[in-house]
Amino acid sequence: MLLRFHAAGRDDIHHTPQETFYRKGGCIYMDSKNIIRLENISVSFDDQSVLQNLDLQISDGEFVTLLGPSGCGKTTTLRIIGGFLKPDSGSVFFDDQLVTDLPPHKRPVNTIFQRYALFPHLNVFDNVAFGMQVRKMKKEEIRERVEEMLRLVNLTGFEKRSVNTLSGGQQQRVAIARALAIHPRVLLLDEPLAALDLKLRKDMQAELKNIQKRLGITFIYVTHDQEEALSMSDTVVVMDSGKIQQIGTPQDIYNEPTNAFVADFIGESNILDGVMLSDYLVEFFGRKFSCLDSGFEPNEPVDVVIRPEDIDIVEPIKGDLVGTVTSVTFKGVHYETIVDFKGFKWMIQTTDFYDVDRTIGIKLNPEDIHIMKKSEYSGMFGDYSSYSEEFDEMADPEAALTGEEAEER
């Protein structure tokens, strides 16, 4: 049954040999085939701009994640794709057809809402069957497919249960089964795992990714958890204050952030002021370093990103730079060491222990240095001078969220 659907949903591939497609990590990719395209979308609420001239293309079969801090416009983007919100300006295309004015019930897109939104007066079976009953499918077929969907989400035998008696994780599975039962081309998921505890969240991440691969459906996934985004996605879209900051594979986003915001939001980064003397040569801290970047103006001021785990600690005399350790925190896999270089503090992750007040040298290889153009975010991130454990916890969106969730229960 599942396989039949899989093949049926992909008929277009077999009939269009001129289109090239290739396999990568189990998903099918097609060049030049967008399933969804947002063009120049702008939205504001009460004169407050929420999305500004947003352009986004999503390929068929992709797992795309919208990643960004709270309030950056992720949910708003999703609601525009789902048809629940009309943009003030701009267009939405589905399979190259304009759907900006198409109401949600006519779009081949389904949504998993953050609070599940199961129908409380219906049992599990009727919740999953809802979309099929609306489509007036045959009773036998509905029963078959409900069973298939419940099997897919590991809820076989729960048909008769009232949805009010299910745990959060189970409710989420019912919501997924309900949305997948009508075979959408695209599934929109708005922080679907935010309310689950860490362990369950990890399991569900793997399960969702699995389902996406098996069914070959396009997933558009919203989260503000960067780890979740990196581990699940084919493509990550990093957003801040209503604008897309960067689109790329998880590796691209991590290794080649386009500006200080992305570098800081994805993982830890030391971000320094530098000057690009010429191609492949950058100066910072009064020293010249060779790097792999080119294409800048001569003497152009730039932001230099150095990831804490890329830095090699050496004897002071052998180091490119020499600094003093100001704090050390054991993190399990590594020590998080804060080192003062002429008043500018860096974070270095090392498996060796260097005690506070010890003088160390560091060595930077060309491939450890990443150069970014100056942006509006320059100077806002990447300095660990005010860094402390407490501060880190407060700024951690996950910690904040768990508190909120706990209160709600």
């Binding site: 019930h105 949504t111 953050q114 199961l118 809802f130 949305a179």
Partner: protein
């Protein structure tokens, strides 16, 4: 202290209900005398059901109450949904406007409606005072009560439920009936019962808006008191009291049931 407060409560209930108790007792009195007990009888109740005037106004009362309850429930529920969808400022304004008729003295509401109906009748020849104006008046004063019962249900509802139904391919109207209505139904039901009770109960507004062709029971009772009174009135009033009491109990039971259902969910 405890006994004192008990006595106090008992006194309050005595003051509140002794008039009704007297009324009920004397509706069974086998005499026209309103002071002396002359033995038990059901005669006045029997008379009641032979009195053409009373039967006619009973029919009017029930017809108006049922129609007013149904129509005001439909309008009030739709209004509540509309108000719920507004932004906060507009919503608060509309709720305030909704509350005015409930705190406004009934006599003002009654007279103002009468003046308007007469005005429209004089200008256009439409809305001759009678059954139809009576019904319009009742619908009007019932709507705010329905709105007030439905609003909290809408507020409690997960606001994504409707969107989820539409998302699964349900057209908007059918999504309302399949998902929203079952959720707010307890509120709609109590709203309807309340509207029915209010309509059954009303005297002042009916008095001014019924014209001469369509008298409701309370209006008939009032006109009977102008002539030499018979204990029939006691019997009739007793029945009306019991009917309204029954309805109020129904409303309360419905509300308690709903509350305990919610409790179980959590």
């Amino acid at each position: 202290m405890k006994t004192l407060s008990r006595i106090y409560t008992a006194l309050i209930f005595l003051f509140l209900y002794s008039p009704i108790a007297v009324l009920v007792v004397f509706s069974f009195n086998n005499s026209r005398n309103r002071v002396k007990w002359n033995g038990f009888t059901l005669k006045w109740y029997a008379d009641l059901f032979e009195n053409e005037l009373i039967l006619e106004s009973l029919k009017v009362t029930l017809t108006v109450a049922i129609l007013a309850a149904v129509i005001s429930t439909v309008i009030g529920t739709l209004a509540a949904i509309g108000i719920h969808g507004m932004n906060r400022k507009l919503r608060q304004t509309f709720l305030a406007v909704n509350n005015i008729p409930m705190v406004n003295p009934e006599i003002v509401t009654g007279i103002s409606m009468m003046l308007m109906f007469v005005f429209v009748f004089r200008m256009t020849g439409l809305l001759r005072p009678g059954f139809f104006t009576l019904l319009l008046a009742h619908i009007t004063f019932c709507i705010p009560y329905v709105v007030l019962q439905v609003m909290p249900k809408l507020r409690q509802m997960n606001r994504h439920l409707y969107e989820a139904a539409v998302d699964l391919g349900c057209p908007p109207v059918s999504a309302f009936f399949k998902v929203v209505l079952p959720e707010i139904f307890p509120g709609v039901l109590t709203g309807a019962l309340m509207a029915f009770t209010m309509s059954l109960d009303d005297f002042v507004i009916s008095y001014f808006n019924a014209g001469s062709t369509a008298q409701t029971l309370p209006v008939t009772v009032y006109s009977m008191t102008k002539k030499p009174m018979t204990p029939e009135i006691n019997a009739l009033s007793t029945l009306m009291f019991l009917a309204v009491l029954l309805l109020l109990i129904l409303v309360n039971v419905a509300q308690i049931r709903d509350a305990s259902k919610k409790g179980r969910k959590i």
